[in-house]
């Protein structure tokens, strides 16, 4: 294995690459996507137009983009806090479902006479549901040292089955023709629409507020500083007396609550009832979003829009070009691969072997 180039560690990380890398990764993903269209016998230009341009051509398209970005922002900003603290929570999907169950449970209590006051109750219940689900992971990690990657992921399957059990059983709509789904929520229990004529709801505003709040927290508050230090220099954090346990609980409860809110908003927003497949993998896509957004709330908002575009593009590619909508998943995976590869250039510099031999 003698390649002409070797990777030499940089003395200081390349700051420019830190933000150039996600952009480069997005460009590479789009190019790979064009290649994929060509391989499937489609005109690449037409394919990319449907996938990346058409969703942005109308006002409705933009509102749908915001709608899909909402759960991604909420999940990803929470995950970013976890990843910064070196807590590998990859079960946001499960926490999202737990939030949908809790928030949906409150929404099912609504009657025709219910007022809008039920909306905050739904959001709070969803946050508590997601946080409770994440607390299982935190407790098992804290008390038993159990690997949080595996525990949080196993809990995704458990949450999916729990939701399936509820909508097949006690919460099944008696007038639903036997479909495993709850009754439709009363209109008072639906998330208020913020842009008339579209499906964009108050959840989008909440997501932006959450991203802003976390930005402030990271920049201005002690706990945010502790999170940053714990991730960058764990030994320094320990020496400074920052409690690892506190950060573990804080990061997991916060990200669980945010993912839970995403679930509650999804159930009482665009879906309008509880179904066994409440999320098309938003919790997993959010992992990619968090990395592409550089674990920074502002970056994550932008990355969420890119990822939302992939979701809508996949749907359009299916309806207009007859391609499998699973294309979205391929794009998502490719994006993270390209990002990781480009990130190499932050810490390392490719150098020609000959030059290195001389300088060494």
């Amino acid at each position: 294995m003698t390649l002409p180039y070797v990777l030499v560690p940089r003395a200081v990380p390349a700051r420019a690459m830190l933000w150039a890398s996600p952009l480069l990764a997005i460009v590479l993903t789009v190019l790979a996507g064009a290649l994929l269209f060509a391989l499937m016998g489609q005109d690449p230009a037409q394919g990319l137009k449907v996938f990346l341009w058409d969703p942005l051509a109308t006002r409705r398209g933009w509102s749908e983009l915001g709608l899909k970005a909402t759960p991604l922002i909420l999940c990803a900003v929470g995950l970013a806090m976890c990843f910064r603290a070196n807590v590998w929570n990859i079960g946001a999907e499960g926490q999202l479902i737990a939030g949908a169950i809790a928030g949906g449970g409150i929404a099912l209590l609504a009657t025709r006479d219910s007022t809008r006051m039920i909306v905050p109750a739904i959001v709070v219940a969803a946050a508590l549901g997601g946080a409770a689900w994440a607390s299982i992971t935190a407790w098992l990690r804290d008390r038993f040292n159990a690997n949080e990657i595996l525990v949080s992921l196993m809990l995704v399957y458990v949450a999916q089955l729990l939701l399936a059990w509820l909508v097949h059983g006690v919460w099944k709509d008696p007038e639903g023709f036997g479909f495993p789904q709850s009754k439709l929520f009363e209109s008072a229990a639906r998330m208020p629409i913020v842009l008339a004529g579209t499906r964009l709801n108050i959840g989008f505003v909440l997501a932006l507020v959450a991203a802003g709040a976390l930005w402030l927290m990271l920049a201005r508050m002690v706990i945010g500083f502790q999170l940053k230090v714990a991730g960058l220099a764990p030994l320094a954090a320990r020496y400074a007396g920052f409690s690892e346990r506190r950060l573990l609980w804080f990061a997991l409860l916060l990200s669980g609550a945010l993912a839970g809110i995403a679930g509650g908003i999804e159930a009482t927003g665009p879906v309008g009832q509880l179904t066994p497949t409440i999320s098309p993998g938003y919790g997993f896509a959010a992992i990619i979003v968090a990395f592409v957004g550089r674990l920074h709330p502002v970056g994550i908002v932008f990355a969420s829009f890119v990822m939302a575009l992939f979701y809508i593009g996949g749907e359009l590619a299916q309806s207009r070009l007859g391609l499998p909508s699973a294309l979205t998943g391929v794009y998502q995976g490719l994006l993270l691969f390209f990002l990781l590869a480009c990130d190499t250039l932050i810490m390392y510099r490719p150098m020609r072997r000959k030059v290195m031999a001389v300088s060494a």
């Binding site: 070797v6 990777l7 690997n147 196993m154 992992i287 590869a341």
Partner: protein
């Protein structure tokens, strides 16, 4: 009695994909690399294997295709983690997500297709023994191959020079590198072996176990296999025990459903996942127990030029 026989047979069959994937993970991780993408590899291999078996009508060809697809994806992981020095955890997650997407994409047209029936299973002679025959010896040959593979891996790791070198690379890549051992090449081969095993496991699921392709059909078995290796503290013999234990838990759940036990199927279906969490918590409680056999450099990026 018949029920015990059926349960034993079903346990062997259900434990095999876990066993195959887990023994591959043991080899990869003993070389110091953790590949969290096993679930994605199994999914792609399941669809590749099923597709090959469906197109050719030869199940064995499907298994080979699955193993090859698994090795190819593991090599992609190797290029990123060993060549471009990316973080192993993040890259593994990327592979898991990519595999889920790619398999759903490739498998869209295979959904609902079925395979031609295959010939009789089992070991001739032994399978005719009353009770023990149908319980233990009437399975597809891959079930027994998996056990042989475990024995071979155990022997390789503990009794051969190459196995010793592989473990040295996992314990201290710097020391191995200083001694002139090609660390990256060895890790690449260990990863490819792990990928091929996971691929075989995925193809077993779609070609022999189910046998059909449906989206997300691996249902977390790749992750359970990763957990299994931690429970087994990287020891092949314990991997066998763990894989069949989990195979048994899965099958017991189906048997209870079959007997009309009055517990909703969704709650019963949670048992393998809950069992994984509980066992993981119990085993992890004592960090020394885990660290005893854990490769010292597991998950750490190795940069040969420094």
């Amino acid at each position: 009695m018949n029920e015990v026989v059926a349960l034993a047979a079903a346990t062997l069959s259900a434990g095999t994909p876990l066993l195959l994937a887990a023994i591959g993970i043991v080899v990869s991780e003993k070389s110091g690399v953790v590949n969290l993408g096993i679930e994605g590899i199994m999914l792609v291999a399941a669809v590749a294997g099923f597709g090959a078996a469906h197109a050719t009508g030869i199940a064995e060809l499907g298994l080979v295709a699955g193993a090859a697809a698994g090795a190819a994806l593991a090599l992609l992981f190797a290029v990123l983690t060993l060549g471009l020095l990316t973080n192993q955890y993040a890259t593994g997650l990327a592979l898991a997500l990519f595999g889920a997407g790619l398999s759903a994409f490739l498998g869209q047209s295979l959904q609902g297709e079925s395979l031609a029936t295959r010939g009789a299973d089992g070991i001739p002679g032994l399978r005719d023994i009353p009770i023990f025959g149908p319980a233990l010896f009437a399975q597809h040959w891959l079930v027994y191959f998996a056990l042989l593979l475990v024995v071979a891996v155990a022997w390789f790791l503990s009794r051969t020079r190459a196995g010793l070198v592989l473990r040295a690379v996992g314990e201290s890549p710097e020391a191995a590198h200083a001694l002139g051992v090609p660390v990256r090449r060895i890790r690449m081969m260990a990863l490819a072996f792990g990928g091929a095993c996971a691929g075989l496991a995925g193809a077993f699921l779609s070609i022999i176990y189910t046998p059909l392709w449906s989206e997300g059909m691996v249902a977390g078995r790749g992750w359970i296999a990763l957990a299994l290796v931690v429970f087994a503290t990287w020891r092949p013999a314990r991997v066998v025990f763990g894989a069949y234990l989990f195979g048994g838990v899965t099958m017991l759940q189906f048997h209870l459903q079959g007997r009309g036990v009055d517990v909703p199927s969704q709650l019963l279906a949670m048992t393998p996942y809950l069992a994984t969490i509980i066992v993981l918590a119990l085993i992890s409680r004592n960090p020394r127990w885990i660290r005893l056999n854990m490769p010292a450099s597991l998950g750490k990026t190795f940069t040969p030029n420094t």
